[in-house]
């Protein structure tokens, strides 16, 4: 009789007798003897106190970001975490409900999604956003596959800037290799930014899309208008990837520069680093392309009494209707993470988001200034390139060694830029946020001085 399982022995005997069975085993008679499990080699059941002590022990083996200054970014950023966000997420009405297939009893979830779609589409500079994907990496995949569909599969090449997060590009390769779609990677220029002409050359007449990230993996803000022009000049769609969504508080989304798809990672909006997940994939596009869009969508409609109501819509794109011809195989998405994002965004408001982004920019510029002044082999890899809250720093050793040397001095100084390879210089990607303090920066600069 386990506490998470309903009823007790006499309840079960009563049900068995109603069913005309002598034992529960009789209900499993259709399972052939040869596939039955014996006693599983697992620990005995645990009471809640013992269980939690064990989990707390495992958590305590980790070094939390709360105890050490951290400049880690590379796709995961530690922004403010208002108490309200988790309080909303802990409401059982939100976290113990399913995908809102029954709109009459899911208006809470549906309206939250509709508000999220509105905000994300505005930030992206596009018309419509979906109700989330898994993460930034899979959002990039879905964008490339959507572009492939939009161009009816006649253009079999995806052109991607090398300065798109290497992890995203690897995931893209996992998917495209099975589908026979060619991926051409174009290195960034000497300034850490993608070269629109080289992207266009790589596209030729065979690309379905050109994909750039901005701010890119190296922290550089790309020349988005030039890239969109290059893509459209070659008859391809333009895809703007955002790995640090807080940048959208100060930088226009790609839609404003002519991009057809803006997608990426929205972990920045109130979702904990959580050792890499669950995070939040976002995806926005133009109205005219919505029928090729992956993922769920919520639309506004009315109920039988004419009251405003919301429901899932345009489901004919999806696997449960279209099966093998669906625009994606996605079913469960990252709904609760979307809720975290929409609560976070609404709590900050438009002005708060802008203020947060400006704080990131100011802290990054301040740290860049201090690093410029350091000497001892420390310098910015791209001193004249515009950045948001992350940038590539070169030092007296390679990135891996620099990371370890800073760690020895009590600072998580950044992510080695060649962790996943790359044709760029070998240094550290250093990220700040509005949570970075003066003391954190002093600790980093102090440690850097000692390593020169």
């Amino acid at each position: 009789m386990h506490r998470w399982i309903g009823g007790g022995p006499s309840d079960r005997r009563a049900i068995l007798s109603e069913l005309g069975k002598d034992s529960i085993d009789q209900l499993f008679e259709t399972i052939p003897a040869g596939v039955r499990a014996g006693d599983l080699d697992l620990p005995a059941p645990m009471d809640e106190t013992t269980l939690l002590t064990r989990l707390e022990g495992l958590a305590a083996e980790n070094v939390s970001l709360d105890v050490m200054p951290s400049f880690l970014g590379a796709g995961v950023y530690r922004h403010v975490e208002p108490a309200v966000v988790d309080a909303v997420l802990q409401r059982a009405e939100f976290f113990t409900s399913y995908t809102p297939y029954q709109p009459e009893i899911s208006q809470g979830t549906l309206q939250a999604i509709f508000e999220y779609q509105t905000i994300i589409s505005r930030l992206a500079g596009l018309d419509v956003a979906n109700a989330s994907l898994y993460d930034g990496a899979t959002a990039v995949v879905e964008a490339a596959l959507m572009a492939h569909r939009v161009l009816k599969g006649t253009r079999n090449r995806v052109v991607v800037s090398e300065a798109v997060h290497p992890m995203y590009r690897r995931v893209l390769a996992t998917y495209t290799s099975a589908l026979g779609i060619e991926v051409v990677t174009v290195p960034a220029g000497e300034d850490g930014r993608s070269d629109a002409q080289r992207l266009a050359d790589a596209a030729g007449d065979e690309a379905c899309c050109i994909v750039v990230q901005s701010p890119n993996f190296l922290g550089a803000v790309e020349d988005l208008s030039a890239v969109a022009g290059a893509a459209h000049g070659r008859g391809a769609l333009a895809v703007h990837v955002v790995a640090e969504a807080a940048s959208l508080g100060i930088l226009k989304g790609g839609g404003a520069h002519g991009f057809d798809i803006v997608c990426g990672e929205a972990q920045a909006f109130g979702i904990p680093a959580g050792f890499g997940g669950p995070h939040l994939g976002f995806f926005a596009t133009r109205t005219k392309l919505v029928r090729q869009m992956p993922g769920r969508l919520v639309g506004q409609t009315v109920d039988a009494e004419g009251q405003r109501a919301f429901c899932l819509t345009l489901a004919t794109r999806e696997q449960h209707i279209r099966r093998a011809k669906a625009t994606s195989n996605i079913c469960s998405n990252h709904g609760l993470m979307l809720l975290a994002a929409v609560v976070w965004l609404e709590l900050l408001g438009g002005k708060g988001l802008a203020e947060l982004a400006r704080a990131n920019l100011a802290r990054a510029e301040d740290l860049k200034r201090q690093i410029r002044a350091l000497g001892g082999g420390w310098k910015l890899a791209y001193p004249d390139t515009p950045t948001f809250n992350e940038f590539l720093v070169l030092g007296p050793a390679n990135g891996t060694k620099l990371q370890q040397a800073l760690l020895d001095r009590g600072v998580l100084g950044g992510v080695p830029s060649r962790l996943w390879g790359g044709s760029w210089p070998d240094g550290l990607l250093v990220a700040v946020t509005e949570r970075t303090t003066k003391d954190d920066v002093a600790a980093l600069i102090d440690a850097m001085e000692k390593i020169s």
Binding site: H2, W4, G6, R12, L16, L19, I24, F28, R36, A37, D39, L40, E48, L51, L52, V63, V76, V88, E93, F95, T96, S97, P100, I105, S106, Q107, Q117, I119, V128, S132, Y134, T138, M167, V171, A173, T174, V221, L224, S225, K252, G274, G276, T301, V302, I321, A324, K325, N329, G335, L339, L347, L348, G350, G352, A354, R358, A362, E365, E434, K438
Partner: protein, 493 residues
């Protein structure tokens, strides 16, 4: 959920309509010089703040979401017998464990020396899932069941390639969930439907005929979406393996035989496990879930990277392996979901796992027994954890499965699954799970019986249902005909 909201909740954009400046969430003080954005960023890229999102006080936002929450039904409210979704209780201790600072405030790129506890969580879950499935390897990467299906099918593709074979087709029963054919397609295969036999299980003659050297394998849900165990599962796997194919098993229904049977012994080569179904992690209004995949020995080399590797008492992350299909997503997994699943499995232990399946199956059979006289059962093979009725009796009165489901809302229960299996017209797929007390399951049955009577006596009551919900029946056709997918400032509703 409130039957009728106290007040309709406006969209957030309709609050503070005059956009007055007000106190809002405060950021840490900026103690460095402010920067003129236009001087350090390309000027044409700098944006203005979003005018649509007003300044709101903290209570305004809290009340907004509180009121929205009151328009939702949830597992904590009452029986949620959505077939194939396994809407069981989400233990609260899971939530506490997943919120420990040593798990949440952890960057995925911290050095391995700082994250040994997190790597151990993944390694431990990996071990228990191998034990529970009787299989040889596990990946925890996939973010959902469909994502796990795709990972499994990509591994199958890779294994065939490693043998120098190229096979284009995958057989999928017509009873399958829609993600199966979609996942096969995204793995580069052609999904070929195989018709079910008269009892709803796999037709062996059809399988024998269709399983050619063009076929990479079969995707099979066990028990199938009718809640029926494939009695010839071992023969099916032997036939497929004998012709050089592989067996993909959809583990969405694992709750039916947890601790009772081993997919490894059934001949599965890849099996995804929905941690958000069988292992109690919350559905979150549509995720995040986690779709771990267990594999047979032949697929182990092809598991996704990065992987957690154990070296003595220390754990490391392996980022590269040429035999791997590569990464399926960013970083390692939906880690905080994994913490919840491990907490649940450790809480249950082996005995609790078996008891889970026993009571889940017992309850499904109770529902079947109680409702058999009132609802039509197309396939009468023995049920495991779920039972699929349909609306054939009620259609005589012009009442459909949708009407029945909407009326069920008035009785305070979530409706069954209706969108599949496609082989049952007007399906009502009911999965009570093991969590509730028997009285709750019985109350649901009483409601279903009352609705069957209403269908005969006053069908208009059902056509117009629901009557007692925060909104009345929602016009989904209108939503699709004139898509309004975001709020526009011009709408002053």
């Amino acid at each position: 959920m409130r039957r009728r909201p106290l007040r309709n909740e406006r969209l957030i954009f309709e609050h503070n309509r005059e956009r007055r400046a007000r106190g809002r969430y405060e950021l840490p003080p900026l103690d460095v010089p402010a920067v003129d954005a236009g001087s350090v960023l390309p000027e044409e890229q700098v944006r203005e703040p979003l005018a649509d999102l007003p300044d709101l006080g903290e209570l305004d936002v809290v009340q907004h979401f509180h009121r929205l929450s009151q328009m939702n039904f949830a597992v904590d409210e009452g029986l949620y017998p959505l077939g194939s979704c396994t809407m069981k209780y989400n233990p609260r201790v899971n939530e506490v464990a997943a919120r420990l600072g040593g798990f949440t405030a952890l960057h995925p790129l911290q050095p391995a020396s700082q994250v040994q506890g997190a790597l151990r969580v993944m390694w431990e879950l990996d071990q228990v899932l191998k034990t529970i499935t009787g299989m040889d390897g596990v990946t925890l990467q996939p973010a959902a069941g469909a994502h796990g299906e795709l990972a499994g099918m990509l591994m199958i593709r890779k294994a065939l390639e490693a043998r120098g074979e190229h096979r284009e087709e995958v057989l999928i029963p017509d009873s399958a969930h829609g993600t199966n054919p979609a996942s096969a397609t995204f793995a580069g295969f052609e999904a070929v439907e195989i018709a079910s036999g008269p009892d709803g299980t796999v037709d062996m003659e059809a399988l024998d005929r269709m399983m050619t050297d063009r076929v990479a394998g079969i995707m099979l849900t066990v028990p199938n979406t009718l809640g029926v165990f494939e009695p010839r599962i071992v023969e099916i796997a032997e036939l497929v393996h004998g012709r050089g194919g592989l067996v993909y098993m959809d583990g969405a229904n694992l709750n039916a035989f947890l601790g009772k049977a081993l997919p490894g012994a059934m001949g599965a080569d890849a099996l995804h496990i929905n941690l958000h179904k069988t292992f109690s992690t919350p559905h979150g209004g549509g995720g995040p879930g986690a779709g771990a995949v267990a594999v047979s020995r032949g697929l182990v080399p092809h598991l996704p990277v990065p992987r957690v590797i154990r070296d003595g008492d220390a754990f490391e992350i392996l980022w590269d392996d040429p035999a791997s299909i590569g990464p399926m997503r960013g970083f390692y997994a939906n880690f905080l979901i994994l913490v919840r699943a491990l907490t649940y499995i450790w809480g249950l232990g082996a005995e609790g796992l078996a008891e889970t399946a026993e009571v889940a199956v017992l309850y499904a059979n109770l529902v079947r027994h109680r409702l058999t006289s009132a609802y039509h059962l197309e396939y009468d093979a023995p049920s495991l954890h779920e039972v699929v009725f349909d609306d054939a009796f009620q259609r005589a009165h012009g009442v459909t499965n949708v009407d029945i489901s909407k009326r069920l809302l008035d009785y305070g229960f979530h409706p069954p699954t209706m969108s599949f299996p496609l082989i049952v017209h007007g399906a009502l797929m009911i999965e009570p799970t093991e969590s509730p007390a028997p009285e709750e399951v019985e109350a649901f049955c009483e409601a279903m019986l009352a609705i069957a009577r209403e269908a005969e006596e006053s069908p208009e009551l059902l056509h117009e249902a629901p009557h007692e919900t925060p909104v009345r029946r929602v016009d989904e056709v209108e939503a699709a005909r004139h898509p309004t997918l975001r709020w526009e400032p011009s709408e002053k509703s």
